[in-house]
């Protein structure tokens, strides 16, 4: 049942996160920056410690028992991502540093092979820099063109415009599932359908989505889906690219080194099969173990219920913030995740962030790695409060109290 958490459930969840039990400037810490990175439950911290304390060795090559255990712990991360994305085959899951690396892999491997002069890459106006810059680099190298589908004044994608912009030269449509700056949830199925109809490939940046929205890559109909461990209550430095097996098989390796080869001689090397073909070097082994545990943790609570909890907090926060004079919300799309961006009349986001910090409230102030989004809304920066599964209405109340202090300082 997709209902928000009860008070009892929420206090049990909060107790899973040791970091929350501390003070900031003498006030209880109110962490409202989960869109930047989520905190880690005890089980994830323990899984990482246990890997190093009991099961550590290099992976995929040891013949001894310890190496087998390390490999199993790391590979559990791959299998967990497969489950989370409802992907058919764990070989389609490449374990990487995170979403940024996943997108760069596609740009540099698939992109260099498939994008040529005059071709087009279509993105949306709400992308994170990590889903803009790799394509700009590819376009500059290949003589291709970056095309941007617009968003409306609420921060929602204008789907008709996207459809109009997809053409015979469009090789790839790369879109974010959930916007980190605006909270907008994109209609990824429709986007993929439009792209496929035009013969284009589809990449979805799922960094912000997977911890609150059930994802089924086949149901979406995308070709690539990228995610980060640190945004789903797992470690930083580990993430994944899911790609359709036939595409991955046809793509050239991205980085050369150990792990990714089948045979090496000075004359010629041959490549390992997927996923190892794209995993040169010793990976973040403990990261894989932590990722597996984080996904287990998410599943034990239920991604749908986390989404419902965030939706309820979003509605509560939106109403409370709208009551503050001089506050303008930035990002008011009809379908949103637990992200509230806003500006205060005549008060810079950084000053808001500093004052809130002294009240114990941690929010993000800045451009959120989405400068084009800031330009679209005519602001230099916004304040962003974002929710995770551990946030409560009391956290929102603390934010509102803090904002009243901000207004008082500047009055």
């Amino acid at each position: 049942m997709n209902t928000p958490f009860t008070d009892v459930e929420l206090s049990r969840i909060r107790a899973d996160f040791p970091v929350l039990d501390q003070k900031a400037h003498g006030k209880p810490l109110v962490y409202l920056d989960s869109a930047a990175s989520t905190q880690k439950p005890r089980v994830v911290i323990d899984a990482i410690s246990r890997l190093y304390a009991e099961d550590y060795a290099n992976v995929h090559r040891g013949v001894y028992q310890l190496a087998e255990r390390a490999t199993r712990a790391f590979e559990a991360g791959r299998e967990a991502v497969r489950r989370l994305l409802h992907a058919p085959d764990a070989r389609e899951v490449i374990l990487l540093r995170g979403t940024t690396e996943a997108i760069n892999l596609v740009a540099q491997s698939w992109g260099r092979q498939n994008v040529g002069p005059g071709d087009e890459i279509l993105i949306t106006a709400m992308e994170h820099h990590s889903n803009i810059v790799p394509w700009q680099m590819l376009c500059a190298e290949r003589g291709a063109k970056l095309v941007v589908a617009p968003i409306d004044d609420d921060g929602a994608l204008v789907l008709d415009e996207l459809e109009r912009l997809v053409g015979p030269r469009t090789k790839l449509v790369a879109a974010v599932h959930v916007s980190n700056a605006l909270g907008t949830v994109n209609p990824v199925r429709e986007i993929a359908e439009i792209a496929r109809a035009a013969g284009a490939r589809v990449l979805i940046d799922g960094a912000q989505a997977v911890a609150r929205t059930p994802v089924d890559v086949r149901e979406i109909g995308c070709d690539f889906y990228a995610l980060s461990g640190h945004k789903l209550y797992g470690p930083s430095g580990i993430g994944a690219l899911w790609g359709r097996a036939d595409l991955l098989e046809a793509m050239p390796p991205w980085q050369g080194g150990g792990e990714m080869i089948e045979t090496v001689s000075f004359e010629k090397s041959t490549w390992a099969r997927i996923p190892q073909k794209f995993e040169a070097g010793t990976p973040h082994i403990a990261g894989g173990a932590g990722l597996a545990t984080a996904i287990d943790y998410l599943e034990s609570i239920g991604v749908e219920r986390i989404g419902a909890h965030e939706d309820a907090l979003l509605a509560y926060a939106t109403e409370a913030l709208r009551a503050i004079p001089g506050l303008r919300l930035v990002g008011t799309a009809p379908v949103k995740a637990g992200v509230v961006g806003f500006v205060l009349d005549g008060i810079h986001a950084h000053d808001v962030g500093t004052i809130l910090d002294r009240e114990g409230v941690a929010v993000r102030a800045g451009h959120h790695c989405a400068q084009p989004v800031m330009q679209r809304f005519g602001v230099a920066a916004t304040v962003r409060a974002s929710f995770g599964l551990y946030n409560s209405r009391e956290d929102v109340d603390a934010l509102v109290r803090g904002l009243r202090t901000v207004v008082e300082v500047f009055s």
């Binding site: 810079h348 950084h350 000053d351 002294r358 800045g366 230099a380 008082e408």
Partner: protein, 149 residues
């Protein structure tokens, strides 16, 4: 509200934020530089006219937070009429003031002393020094925007 916050956002600073002095490009400005903070997207343009190595006119434009705007405004007042060497020396002592390093006497910095509260907020030192870096670049005749990073 904490005393650190009160000290940071004191009346003089808020006054310079809301009514920045020497805002705009002064007539005859022959030096300029841009300062950007890539972390927050803040930017400031600093303009100056030198006469015999002395800052005859100085002004700034840009958008930023209360600290960076007030710091730019106060800076323009503090450097006017001084030689480039004096400006550099002042920047050095000002830097010590806002970072809390060194043992600079705030009194010796005149009105700039109101920015001493920044030392309690390490994340905001870049705000307080952005315009100064740009001024330094302008006086040096740098062609590229200066960055806090």
């Amino acid at each position: 509200m904490s005393t650190e916050l009160r000290e940071l956002y004191q009346t003089v600073i808020l006054d310079h934020y809301k009514k920045p002095r020497n805002y705009g490009r002064p007539a005859g400005a022959d030096r300029q530089a841009e300062g950007v903070n890539p972390l927050c997207g803040d930017h400031v343009h600093v303009y100056a006219r030198l006469e015999d190595d002395r800052v005859a006119e100085v002004g700034f434009e840009g958008s930023g937070c209360a600290i960076s705007t007030a710091a730019a405004s106060l800076m323009t007042q503090a450097v006017k009429g001084h030689t480039t060497g004096e400006v550099d020396a002042l920047f050095e002592r000002y830097h010590e003031l806002v970072t809390g390093r060194g043992d600079v006497d705030p009194e010796s910095l005149g009105k700039l002393a109101v920015l001493a509260g920044v030392r309690e907020f390490p994340a905001r030192v870049k705000c307080a020094t952005l315009a100064w870096h740009a001024l330094h670049a302008a006086l040096e005749g740098a062609a590229e925007p200066v960055s806090t990073e």
